[in-house]
Amino acid sequence: CSDFLDKEPVVIASDVNFYKTPEDAYKALVGAYDGLQGVWANGMALPIATEVMSDNTFGGTGNADGFGYQMIDEFDKSRSTADQNIFQANWIAYYAALYRCNVLIGKMDQIEWGTKEELRPIYEAETRFLRAYMYFDMVRLWGNIPLLTAPSRDNIPQADPDAVYAVIAEDLTYAAANLPATTYASQPVSQRGRVTKWAAEALLARAYLYYTGYYGKTELAGITKAQALAYVEDVIANSGHDLVDDFFKLWPAASIEEYAGEDNKETIFAVKYTYTSDYNGNTDGNHWMVMYGMRDQFSFPYGNGWGGATVNPKLWNAYDANDTRRGASIISISAEDIDYEHEAKQREYTGYYNKKYAPMVDEEGNSVAVENGAVNFMIGQFQDYVSIRYADVLLMAAELGSANAQAYFDKVRQRAFKTNFVQVAVSQENILKERQLEFALEGIRYWDLLRQGVPTAAAIIAETTTVKNGGIATTKTITASKIELTKGLQQIPTNQINLSSNVLKQNAGW
């Protein structure tokens, strides 16, 4: 009788019989990458949210949409009091991805590596990099987050940010030490996108700069400025990465014929996307890029989208007219002579849109993503999110006090200005100014502001200006006091606070 009831599933593997072989470990590693790929599939994507929070863009979106993007933009919850869970999908997705990392890290001993023992430190290093990468996003966005380095169902209170940064530093140090020093050129093309030693070193420097800046510390969990510099100098000296010769070639919409391609030599680390997302559970696509498209209108080569994060004219004006990065970064409706007819549907219209992450159409207006086989233009966008570029490594090295600081600084600016290059003396102030222009609309500016201290960031972001809501000129105000009140952090999802029985505490100002 009892035999009759002892049935095993036929096609479901379980955690009891998985995590046995190196092949299982690789699948689980891919599962962790897939987790990272999904953290911005729903909710509010960090690459956009950070631009909205910074002085680069406004909230934008459709004129009949809710006011969540305005709430984020203005750090003012009264703008949309019902939006109490705007980042919840991301909160859940981050922890889901961390769970995959934590499970795999915990199973390393269980796997029978056999003759492939050398894979273990590599897989572990990649997994720990992914964990560090996500914790770094989270701790910057929310400040106070539960910290798990092993799976747990417990109701875990928020950790001291120092503890989170200690894990980030430890994971990245491990990754930098255990990943092979394979140069860009010798990495097989089919493996591009996997975490490298260089990515770990660059992210470590980024974490160092942010942590020491935002929290006013001198070291990151024992890592000194000199060590951080040594990591990026190693990237410069040994990685084989370099700048792509023209800035516009980095961005598909700015270089239709001459795009340098994904995983080009400048890409240190990217979150990779492709067009196979569907509504049956596949989330492989860049689901957030559609937010950047012009509201309801395409204009070759720029695709239509939801009109989110309209670019602040201040950013356009910050560029020198000779700076090739201006036209490669920003779509100017007037400068490109685009006949934009749908101001009525666009909120916070400024006349400028993001070009670096613009959805694209062909000359007939058909979505390039759909032509490649995507289900639709909303979830089918496939442009990778280039998180760390070699230019960033050069500028970080300069900022960390490299002996070659001026040369690194010049190298970035020479590419931007070409024959119009005029040397500017390297300095912290000039580097930060250059970083805004170089990395505009790439999700970096906001953190560069915050690491100068909340009051400085607040003063730069605060603004009273005029935008067009549904074609009507409307005053837009971002007040410094709101940014200072929230310390630049975002709201913890209210549902998660409720689920935790208030073990989780809301951030100030929310």
Binding site: A28, V30, Y95, Y99, N498
Partner: protein
């Protein structure tokens, strides 16, 4: 002494074998042979008593007659004398549970294509509503209130075979349907019966020698009520007003508006007139001394009113053969019941807001033309007004090219051995075998900048489901003096397996549905061949083993006692949680048999008091929840430079819960059955309290746990209520009539939900794009209640906005303007947010009721059937509030447009600010009373030469004749709720009454014919 011979027939003229013919006051007599003939010796002053179960007994004084031909009439008062119970039958008078039997002919005479629809209003405490009006669509059946979020449909048992629905059945094949409502009646089905049990018996042996019957009807269906949308002029006016209210200039001048005309009425475009419905059913039955058989074939066609036959259509072929044979005297019998159905259907979207074809008609402006100059569907991509809106009719046509076939075989083979008259052993092998196959086609098209398809696609899927069931039953009845005992012991083993395969590919050779198959797709790019899945479905895989027993006891048919016990073991659960035990007891007292009530016999003919208690279970959860599965599907990353190249991965996607066990429902029932006025008035009354405990719920867990929540046991729901049924049967001259009324009151309350916030949250994005949560399951509230802001009219003036202050003097809605909604700040913190949300509507009706009138006079018959609900609310969301340019229903003409103009419908704005937050503006009362059937018939056999025809009844019916309701949608009977299925298994089904553009039930006029030979 003389020899009396004769023939006994029923009213249709068919001969009746086995009828008892006794000489009154003696034990001598005979019974009729297979031709209904008898021969008996009698004295002239003897009285012959001619009796047959279910027929009125006739007494005839012999006198000088030597030939006595008698026709027996069915006995309406003893109808249902024997009732179907779980694993058997029982004399009704001895039954101590709360159950209700509906005869097959009461179902088939309502001319519905779906047997459950015919049950509406006939059974108190059983709420039946359409999931949609699309032909072939299922029904939501809730017995005694929703007790779980985990799928509240009952268990169906057809001829002893456990199954999930009876949509496939030809209503003409049904002998009876019995609804087991209380736990004591249902507990014999243990873990399957927490939501009640519906027992269906298909037609068996006929009375009389042999019958051929032919039943058919043919009719036309139309939409009973359409929603009135704004025409082009009204729409332009409202758009102008919304622009002005949003500080913009109006879009149209008065002259432009005057020139607009009416524009396209999308409601008219979506519906067809006079959609056909047809049904033909031919059956034959007969019996001989050792065998009987009953067989039928049937065909049903119902066209949909939305889009018509090419888009929404249902065809069903049925075949049935039931027979029984005596192999050896009365000791060994074998037999089988077998029903086959073959269903071909097509359907339009009737699901959520993204999969609801009608919804486009509510949201598309009347400016969009139906056709362009060449007669093609209009491509709106170059519209200056709104290039994002698309012809909703064309969207429906292009998006719903599908053919679906399903086949079902359900039946059993049995052998019965009865070595002694009182001992019976029966072994039954049951089978349910379903297959489905479907293909769909998406052509290349372009209708707007968002509604287009660049590459043609074909999708194909196939699957099968098999459930094998082996039951063994031993029954023994014996008497000890006046004490009568019936005992039954049994076992049942069930094995369930399923398998599926589906794929989509692109670039088709042919451009039509009939040739759209995977093999005609030219694309060889792997990323477009998606989804491509196939294999056994572990989620439904189950082996189940059960042991059960029943004891019936009665003392002189006056003191009744009944106990059952069932043990169920299922492979779904971990070995330590595998078994569930489900006991029940019930008792009855037929007080009217007592001497001390003899005085009341003049007006009260019988009175039985019953009480029962039992525990039943629910295990509707996917299998293997106790393990942590590794998910491989949809887990990919795209390493390398080639787009679309995926590397597969895996991760444990769900936390395991080895402690998961059965959901238990405990129910107490007290009731009485009484007959008054010589049996003319029948009264049934029940009070019950049903508490479902240890709900199997996907309890929300903290995100930090990282994986999908495990299913756990926890939480409870209580349903309390009363049910009353009254029936009065009488006659005036040759006019016979029956009036029956029934009603049920139910109160639903969720007890404890075992997570920190005590809430199971509803889903977002359901009412319109980016809409928030609007229903939930929460401690102390009715299940699936509507959760939103309360409103307190509209601000009429600026002053009212400024004076709307919190206790601390803070302006509560500082941004509001006159004409905006005033939300109630329930916690008085000066802010309107989630903390101000509360119960603003209850989708569960307080009262469900029905009544029917039937009468016959000579050859005429008339019946009227009605059903209704009261006390429930409906959420109506027709308009996508994320879109400023969507059309409105004409209700918007009563909007606020100046102080005092309205206190109900807010001003129009382009940002729809008064509608983007869920509030009681969306809530509507769902009370209705529907006259669901009016039928008038006449039996032509009465005027035909005698003996030629048993019956030739011609009738005309109106289905869904009138609906009395204040609800201004198309149909108040909204069975649609936000049901979440994962791999076909319901995982969240707590909501109902959500009208997103509900495919309405049609009004049908039909004529029919019943012929019996």
């Amino acid at each position: 002494q003389q020899v009396i011979t004769g023939t006994i027939r029923d009213v249709t003229g068919a001969s009746m074998p086995g009828v008892n013919v006794l000489i009154k006051g003696t034990a001598s007599g005979t019974s009729t042979d297979v031709e209904g003939k008898f021969s008996v010796q009698a004295q002239p002053d003897d009285v012959l008593v001619i009796s047959f179960i279910g027929y009125q007994t006739r007494e005839i004084t012999v006198g000088q007659q030597t030939t006595i031909d008698v026709s027996l009439e069915e006995d309406l008062t003893t109808l249902g004398e024997v009732v179907v119970v779980g694993y058997g039958t029982q004399k009704k008078v001895l039954n101590t549970g709360a159950n209700l039997q509906v005869k097959g002919e009461d179902i088939s005479k309502l001319s519905t294509t779906n047997a459950l629809q015919a049950l509406q209003g006939q059974t108190p405490g059983v709420q039946i509503s359409s999931l949609s009006g699309q032909p072939g669509s299922g029904m939501r059946v809730v017995i005694r209130g929703m007790g779980t979020n985990n799928g509240s449909g009952p268990l169906y048992v057809v001829d002893g075979v456990l199954t999930g629905d009876i949509n496939y059945l030809n209503p003409n094949d049904i002998e009876s349907i019995t609804v087991l409502k209380d736990a004591a009646s249902a507990a014999i089905y243990g873990s399957q019966s927490a939501n009640g049990v519906i027992l269906v018996t298909t037609k068996g042996a006929s009375k009389g020698k042999s019958h051929i019957t032919f039943d058919s009807f043919i009719g036309v269906q139309n939409v009973a009520r359409k929603v009135d949308m704004l025409d082009a002029q009204e729409y332009a006016t409202i758009m102008n007003e919304a622009a002005v209210n949003s500080n913009k200039l109006p879009y149209f001048t008065n002259d432009e508006i005057a020139a607009l005309g009416k524009g396209t009425d999308w409601m008219d475009e979506m519906f067809v007139d006079n959609a056909s419905t047809q049904n033909y059913s031919l059956s034959a039955s007969g019996n001989s001394e050792n065998s009987w058989y009953s067989t039928s074939i049937g065909y049903t066609l119902q066209e949909g009113v939305v889009g018509g036959r090419s888009l929404s259509n249902y065809e069903r072929y049925n075949f049935r053969i039931n027979s029984e044979h005596k192999l050896y005297k009365d000791i060994v019998k074998v037999g089988q019941n077998l029903t086959l159905s073959y269903v071909k259907n097509k359907g339009v979207g009737v699901g959520n807001q993204y999969n609801n074809s009608l919804r486009g008609a509510f949201n598309t402006s009347p400016f969009v033309p139906m056709y362009d100059a060449e007669g093609n569907y209009f491509d709106n991509s170059n519209s200056e007004w709104n290039n994002g809106e698309a012809n909703p009719y064309a969207t429906m046509v292009y998006g719903n090219q599908n053919n679906n076939l399903s086949q079902k075989v359900l039946g059993n083979l049995f052998a019965e051995i009865s070595p002694l008259k009182s001992v019976k052993f029966r072994s039954t092998l049951g089978l349910e075998y379903n297959t489905h196959e479907s293909n769909s086609f998406t052509p290349e098209y372009k209708l707007s900048i968002y509604t287009f398809n660049d590459v043609s696609r074909a999708s194909q899927s196939m699957g099968r489901y098999t459930s094998l069931q082996w039951d063994n039953l031993l029954t023994y009845g014996f008497d000890v003096k006046e004490h009568h005992f019936d005992v039954m012991a049994g076992s049942s083993a069930i094995q369930i397996r399923a398998l599926g395969l589906s794929a989509t590919n692109a670039s088709l050779i042919f451009n039509n549905l009939e040739q759209a198959w995977i093999s005609t797709a030219m694309n060889r790019d792997g990323t477009r061949i998606t989804p491509l899945t196939g294999g056994p479905d572990d989620d439904v895989l189950e082996n189940r083993l059960s042991f059960f027993g029943r004891l019936n006891y009665n003392l002189g048919e006056t003191y009744l006692f009944n106990a059952t016990f069932r043990a169920d073991g299922s492979s779904k659960f971990a070995s330590n949680q595998r078994w569930g035990y489900f006991p029940s007891v019930s008792a009855g007292w037929v007080i009217s048999n007592e001497d001390f009530l003899a005085a009341t016999s003049a007006w009260m003919n019988s009175l039985k008091i019953r009480a029962s208690w039992g525990q039943v279970g629910n295990q509707r959860v996917r299998s293997f929840q106790y393990i942590a599965p590794i998910q491989f599907s949809n887990v990919n990353y795209s390493f390398g430079d080639k787009e679309g190249t995926l590397t597969g991965g895996g991760y444990p996607n769900r936390l395991p819960n080895p402690a998961l066990g059965w959901e238990t429902s405990e129910q107490t029932n007290i009731g009485f059955d009484a007959k008054f006025l010589s049996g003319k008035l029948n009264v049934n009354f029940d009070w019950y309290m049903k508490k479902t405990k240890d709900l199997i719920i996907a309890a929300p867990i903290l995100a930090t746990a990282g994986a999908d929540e495990p299913f756990i046991n926890g939480g409870d729901v209580t349903n309390k209520g009363i049910e009353v049924a009254l029936a009065y049967t009488s006659s005036v001259g040759e006019l016979n009539y029956t009036v029956s009324v029934n009603g049920a009151y139910n109160q639903n309350k969720v007890g404890v939900i075992p997570n920190a916030d005590g809430i199971i949250h509803g889903q977002t994005n359901q009412l319109f794009d980016n809409s928030g949560e609007f229903y939930r399951m929460e401690n102390g509230r009715p299940i699936g209640y509507f959760w939103g802001l309360k409103t307190d009219g509209l601000f009429q003036t600026e002053e009212e906005v400024n004076n709307y202050l919190s206790g601390e003097g803070k302006k509560i809605q500082p941004d509001a303007q006159p004409g905006d909604v005033r939300y109630v700040d329930r916690n008085n913190d000066g802010e309107i947010n989630d903390q101000d949300r509360t119960l603003i509507g209850n989708p569960n009706p307080d009262l469900t009721y029905g009544f029917s009138i039937s009468a016959n006079y000579k050859g005429f018959d008339l019946s009227i059937q009605a059903n209704g609900v009261a006390g429930n609310q409906i959420v109506q969301s027709y308009r996508n509030m994320a879109n400023p340019l969507g059309n409105y229903t004409s209700a918007i003409l009563d909007r606020w447009h100046g102080p005092g103009s309205s206190n109900k419908i807010p001003r129009v704005t382009e940002d729809n600010r008064n509608w983007t937050t869920f509030s009681d503006l969306y809530i509507h009362d769902g009370d209705f009373l529907r006259i669901s059937n009016i039928t008038l018939g006449y039996d032509l056999a009465r005027v035909a030469p005698k003996g030629l025809l048993g019956q030739a009844r011609l009738y005309a019916s109106v289905l869904n004749a009138f609906t009395f309701t204040k609800y201004e949608g198309m149909d108040p009977e909204v069975g649609y709720g936000i049901d979440t299925r994962e791999n076909g298994v319901l995982v969240d089904a707590m909501s109902q009454g959500v009208d997103l553009g509900f495919y309405p039930r049609t009004r049908t006029y039909l004529i029919g014919l019943n012929v019996k030979f």
